[in-house]
Symmetry: C3
Subunit: 300 residues, 3 copies
């Protein structure tokens, strides 16, 4: 599998395995470690977490599985996130839903993630959402300390627009290494508003969440979903792809920004199918046919 | 009172006194100089004007008061603005409402402000509105000349978005020192569109006009005003604040951009109350509760 | 006629002659070369093409005329564009309408333009539309090669917003020399959204397509057209301009961004009339009166 170089000594697999629904998969830790190993065998080595996933439970389930076979830690990259505060029975001290990107919160959250994940280091820690109250000096101090202590190797953001990215970056010593954004044939906002262009300009490879639009591509009954399903199915037949989602992934892979789609499935066949979409090469005609289906009209 | 450093040798008080309704207060020059002295006693040393306030009358009323006690000039910072042309009986030569940011107009306007204000120098001169016809070379020449002649110490802008700020800045020798924008718990545009982030990125402390949304927080009957009034009142009780507007000011002060709210009141008790809001420390829960009330929904 | 310096050794005439409807003018090549000579006599030396104009026919018609008098090539600047793929009987190999800014397509398109135009070099080659699939590295390679081979002297873009311009620029060795955008008294988008400001900031003189809004100024029946026609006619009388379109051109010329309007007419009187509008000097009152008519309200 292709790898994307984020820094001189850190690379991600082109596809990323997303664990945000791990707690919903109802699997034992033995089953989880098996799944992780099968994912690694596809060439996918990057695993995407957040402190809040599964109401603050997913990191721990992953960590318990990892503890069964600690040697594989070195074969993977772990991404996690912080900055959202959720009300949860697992965080009784939280009184309301808000963001917290203070130095104290970032460090505590990262340390708790380390404990939950049963690991000594996080490969990349992301600020989960642009916080209108973010004090960039505090974020910079938190990042410096976590880096110096060896707890986090590199830092990034998620769902940031240009003004948020360039503002935070201007306070940091090191470059942000990724921006995890929503992008799919269905969701074009980050293409239209320039966020992907800013990633290209800043040489930041983006990760894509909901690359299949949370299933809307398959079951959505709105006009856009219906139009897209028709195009994707047509192009599936033209290309000999095994499934419509392979075409959707191939559409993301063809973009020059080096988008890294996150596959949020616990089904190894689905993950293998997604990984295999790297073999599907769309023509420009096909790429724009999908774009036009999504927009509902052609480019000017 | 906290001070905000704008340049190496220029700082503003955290709160600014706004004179835009001075001519409506119906006070004599003796009463005006008394008010100015009482304001200075609160620690507020920065006074905000514009050539056009009171249909070109407010600067002069302030200047007449200042002339009664010229020694206090050194204890204050005077901000004024230029660039809007209004039809007014006080400017019979004006034939229509438009902007004028030509070199000639900026210099003439600044010199007229100096005369009206009975002072030898303006601390900070702002371009009042982004002018779609602004020739940045002319602005640069005007600023250079006014600076060289000792008539203005530093320059800024008002109501500028990023593209206007970065464009003008690229023609100037010295950094713009502030951007005076509308921001309040009610008016979030400059938070959402990135203008505050650009201030943070460029290390420009913004001034906030209409920090109480022109009274809408107290009397507005729209849904947003009603929601905000409820939150602000609740948090007033939680914090022991003396008034709802103290909570609104505290909300602005908590933001990391170092927002300097402009208090546009002629009532010294109100000004003292505003200044005292620096003592109110909101929690993040409270800050976001106000944000959510304003937006009508929670952050994602 | 005024000239606008794009690089140290390349300048355009302030007005540009646009050939996009050349194939509709139904003129012989003898008539075309006469028109070109008459245009040159007005001082307009810059001619604007695109590969796709006239469904891929206009460049060739111009080239055939130029071949009758090759000596005038040195007296003009030729601009052309690439990057749009249209279905056309003249390009049977095209299967759908889309964009193509691959290295291969840019080079092939430029070489075909050279052949069609009967010239050895293009003065400025533009990317016609921002391509959401643009790989800036490929564009950079194509530009480098075309420059090195002496086929193109300089490069620019068309219809680019800031994020597209700054992204592409960050991959290029040389500065983009123009951004050809739609701007007219009717169409203010590129004024309001900051595109013109970005041109000013980057010292890029923009070319303006549809400077008369495709005739809407004369015949549009929408409210904006009616309001504008009234203002333009009033100001025509005030200034003694020969026509309403002279006022519209004068409005563009007064803007500090050094807008170069493209005159898309085959009628030499109309072209001469446009060129003569450089003599019309609008006051700021008049400039804003037109702006206000277009917006439907005054500036704040």
């Amino acid at each position: 599998m292709e790898r994307i170089q984020l820094t001189e000594d850190l690379s991600f697999s082109r596809f990323v395995h997303g664990l945000w629904r791990l707690s919903d998969w109802n699997i034992t830790k033995q089953e989880a470690i098996s799944l992780i190993n099968e994912v690694l065998e596809t060439g996918i080595t990057t695993f995407d977490h957040a402190d809040i996933y599964g109401s603050y439970t997913c990191e721990e389930r992953f960590g318990e599985a990892l503890a069964l076979m600690p040697s594989i830690r070195e074969k993977m990259e772990i991404v996690t996130k912080c900055g959202i505060v959720l009300e949860s029975e697992n965080r009784p001290e939280h009184r309301s839903h808000h963001y917290n990107t203070s130095k104290k919160h970032i460090i505590q959250s990262a340390e708790r993630s380390l404990a939950n994940l049963h690991t000594d280091y996080i490969d990349v820690l992301l600020i989960h959402r642009p916080d209108p109250m973010m004090d960039p000096s505090e974020v910079a101090e938190a990042f410096s300390q976590l880096k110096k202590e060896g707890k986090v190797r590199a830092f990034g953001v998620s769902n940031f627009k240009e003004h948020q990215l360039s503002m935070l970056q201007s306070y940091l010593d090191e470059k942000l290494v990724t921006n995890q954004i929503e992008v799919s044939p269905y969701e074009l906002e980050n293409i239209h508003d320039g966020t992907l262009n800013v990633c290209l300009r800043e040489r930041i490879a983006p990760m894509a969440w909901s690359p299949l639009a949370g299933g809307k591509l398959f079951t959505g009954e709105d006009d856009k979903s219906i139009r897209l399903r028709e195009s994707l199915t047509k192009i599936q037949h033209e290309t000999g792809a095994a499934s419509m989602d392979q075409v959707a992934y191939a559409w993301l892979l063809k973009h020059p920004a080096k988008i890294m789609p996150i596959i949020g499935s616990g089904n190894i066949e689905r993950i293998q199918g997604a990984a295999a979409s790297a073999e599907i090469e769309l023509t420009l005609d096909q790429w724009f046919e999908i774009l036009h289906s999504s927009m509902g009209h052609e480019v000017p």
